[in-house]
């Protein structure tokens, strides 16, 4: 035990140098966290792919989600944020059955889309046809551009 202390003791001076480098270490850790934070959810963030269509008073977001049960698709709008989430299921395989090829996207997905305006959420409509989801998002009336009268 005594020997252990004597070995540790002379090395204590190093602590000062370590303390000096703490801010750098924290920065490094922050950087590493940032790099790795999206690893697990990279695919989730980009799936499904969307197309956005525009008209003066509304937007349409379309996305391809083949083979879903419409009840498994969740669409929610909060302010100007649209969230599409759900779970696509594969065929349940019995024991002894094997996949020879597995290329389709299965599992949970969630996609958040920041819209350029406040959405009139009660008026949002969604349609699911032939595996394509079509969401119509009308702009809130108060949020529409107003024509300003110029008084002479």
């Amino acid at each position: 035990m005594k020997g252990g202390w004597s070995m540790f003791g002379p090395n204590l001076w190093r602590m000062k140098r370590f303390a000096d480098s703490v801010p750098e270490l924290i920065d490094l850790q922050r950087e590493i966290n940032r790099l790795f934070s999206s690893v697990g959810q990279a695919a989730g963030a980009d799936y499904p792919a969307i197309n956005v269509w525009e008209k003066e008073d509304s937007l349409v977001v379309t996305t391809e989600l083949p083979g879903m049960d419409p009840d498994d698709i969740n669409i929610s709008v909060t302010g100007s944020m649209l969230t599409i989430s759900g779970k696509s299921k594969g065929d349940p395989l019995k024991a002894g059955e094997t996949y020879l090829r597995q290329e389709r996207e299965l599992g949970n997905f969630q996609r958040n889309v920041q819209l350029p305006f406040q959405v009139d959420s009660p008026a949002v409509e969604a349609k699911y046809e032939k595996g394509v989801l079509n969401i119509t998002l009308p702009r809130q009336k108060e949020d529409l551009p107003r024509k300003i009268q110029i008084t002479a």
């Binding site: 990279a42 695919a43 989730g44 980009d46 799936y47 792919a49 969307i50 197309n51 956005v52 269509w53 525009e54 008209k55 349409v60 379309t62 996305t63 391809e64 989600l65 083949p66 083979g67 879903m68 594969g90 065929d91 395989l93 019995k94 002894g96 059955e97 094997t98 996949y99 020879l100 090829r101 597995q102 290329e103 389709r104 996207e105 299965l106 599992g107 949970n108 997905f109 699911y128 032939k130 595996g131 394509v132 079509n134």
Partner: protein, 130 residues
Amino acid sequence: MSDKDLQKTENTAATERIRNVKTFVPRVDIYETKDALFLIADMPGIDEQTVDVELEKNILTISGRVENGKVKDYRLVFSEYEVGDYERTFTLSDEIDRDKIKANVKHGVLRLELPKAEEVKPKKIKINAA
């Protein structure tokens, strides 16, 4: 969900269309059971009218025609995916009973059941005691 390429793959080998549209390779799952092979292809935008399954000799071709994915009265402002036709070809082994192939389409997914021919189904051999 894996980190594989999320974009649709263009089928550059497919015969060119008269219409100026791209042709994509549908993603498929294939699994095998005791009696059949099941092929499930993601082809969003197709229905039973616009999909074709053809079997010539042992070449199985699945194709789908998709009307342009345009939204009427709207203009496209942001695009992450393209809309086009689908085509993909598979070589089947002789084990498939061609006359009993079944196909159906639901929510943009084509599902094919390819029953195995009787003679290749695993058979239990009875062993008689001598």
